[in-house]
Symmetry: C2
Subunit: 336 residues, 2 copies
């Protein structure tokens, strides 16, 4: 394949390289006859501009970055991310943007990725997922004015753009539903305690208890890492309480399922002895037995809005509003 640059096209069409660029950019300041001549050559040779040169000159790469704040092993089994990535890719594609995915394993690599992607100008903006309640990265990004959008939320800094699932509302809905269906001793199993999601859903859980005048018992709240062993032992702890809980709100489908499995291993019947509700409404819910009642997070909506917001930001505008909340809904199945 021969060298194919604008100068070649220009030479063949008998015009200047600047004119070729103008034609390709749709500049109206160019005569129809010239335009046609250039386009003919472009068509014939199948010329496509070099994105690297465009990036340097225009100072924009048309690449968005997605940084997932979780170790690859933990990421591996989670369908949430497939869905998120797929939706972001699709939405970004509509605006001619591409997506660059990175995972941030350790604290060190987080900094590295931040340097790598943004300081090097490799991407035009970032989408961050699963932020901690206090996060130096966010402070810094925000201070330095880099375009980024959070999927989640961040209290400490006011100006942060974010799209969040209505976690408080969703956990309220789940807990409220359990209370209304007669459950008395409802437990909550969170993910890592530092995560904002973990805390927001805990808040919703507490709100629901309070709204029904049910006392909050801290022994019924436990936390787990994103792996089965940790969740199972958290569940075992709950089962040792006297009296044991008769319902569990899991922060996550995988957590709820692991907990449910553990309960069954201890001989409890679901949902007769104990009910379970998870979050995400992943395909899993549907296949297990009893099928898992779950809060459906609207992942495509999260992805769409976050992407739109980020593109708005990278193009220099101020998104309105800066914080969006995507409603969730309860999908009733057999486990609760």
């Amino acid at each position: 394949m021969a060298e194919l640059k604008q100068v070649e096209i220009a030479r063949l069409a008998g015009v200047s390289q600047a004119t070729v660029s103008r034609v390709l950019k749709g500049d109206p300041q160019v005569n129809d006859e010239m335009r046609a001549r250039v386009l003919a050559v472009v068509q014939e040779l199948g010329y496509v501009p070099d994105a690297r040169a465009q990036s340097l000159r225009s100072q924009r790469t048309r690449l968005l970055g997605l940084v997932v704040h979780r170790a690859p092993e933990a990421l591996a089994g989670d369908p949430f991310f497939s869905a998120l990535i797929a939706s972001i890719v699709e939405q970004a594609g509509k605006h001619d943007y591409h997506l660059c995915v990175d995972t941030a394993r350790t604290a060190r690599s987080q900094r590295a990725i931040y340097e790598e992607l943004l300081r090097t100008r490799r991407v035009d903006g970032l989408i961050l997922v699963e932020s901690e309640t206090h996060d130096k990265r966010i402070e810094r990004l925000s201070r330095e004015g880099f375009p980024f959008v959070l999927i989640g939320r961040y209290e400490p800094v006011d100006a942060v753009c974010s799209v969040d699932n209505d976690n408080i509302g969703a956990a309220f809905m789940a807990t409220d539903y359990l209370i209304r269906t007669g459950r008395k001793r409802i437990a909550y199993i969170g993910g890592p305690a530092g995560l904002t999601v973990t805390r927001d859903r805990l808040q919703g859980y507490k709100n629901a208890l309070e709204s029904h005048g049910v006392g909050y018992d801290p022994r019924r709240v436990v936390f787990a890492e994103f792996n089965e062993r940790s969740t199972a032992s958290a569940m075992a702890e709950l089962l040792n309480l006297t009296p044991p809980p008769d319902a569990v709100v899991g922060m996550d489908d995988l957590i709820a399922l692991s907990a449910m499995r553990e309960a069954k291993r201890h001989g409890r019947r679901v949902p007769e002895d104990i009910a379970f509700i998870g979050f995400n409404d992943s395909p899993l819910c549907h296949y297990v037995e009893p099928s898992l009642t779950s809060i459906a997070v609207d992942i495509p909506a999260l992805a769409r809005r976050a992407t739109e917001m980020l593109i708005t930001l990278t193009e220099g505008h101020e998104p309105q509003p800066k914080r969006q909340i995507v409603p969730a809904r309860l999908v009733k199945r057999e486990s609760a």
Copy 2:
């Protein structure tokens, strides 16, 4: 944040811009004292080179592309891709490469993505997943000499670099196991008939039947799309046979699970009346009841080798060997 480019660093360190570049590239042709002076300034200002300029100048973006040949909806629930993406990102990161993910929904968008990513030089090479048995893209990429690696395999073109799961062997293993454990009427539910995976696994299935002298009955082979409805109706078809199958090899965990669900809906006991084996050993297998016996595909190994191969290619070397096969293993659980 002030303008931060090599010229600034050079000015502050009292050297030329070329020297700054040399220091950062680790060029040995530079005196220690100068090097130290430059590095001090770089450190202090936290200078990081501009990837866009580097890309243009060096003609390499250090970006790899992953093109997933499936619609976003179908992608959404599948944990296979989370795992694949996570592993590729990790492996690529070790060589200072990043990953750009794209999905190719329609035939048109496939071409578009190909143009977008490669012709524009936006990425240095591509990893393709889920190829069809005949694929124009592959022919073209290969003809034009673009660096790419297939996860899967492609018979028609000899020189194609690929890393494949040992699908024939794995399906053989699954079928062989079912025969050895006394199953007589084993069915196979494939994915879309055009996919190489579908056909390879079918081949392994046939091989196993043959090696045991069991007759191959084409009525026991059906195909499904990647969604539950399609799979359920394929399974229903199988259940209508007289006699019905007493075991099913599903091309995929989701297919196997959907089929199993359908069988249970028809009152069949698993594994007593009918056994099921899936592929991928996704977390799902573990949570369902009965838990699903599955062929574990070594996704990290696939990802690692494909990534290594692609990087070798993009750096101008010839990978040895060009085709790799990653072995699979049977994970026995309750369903078979």
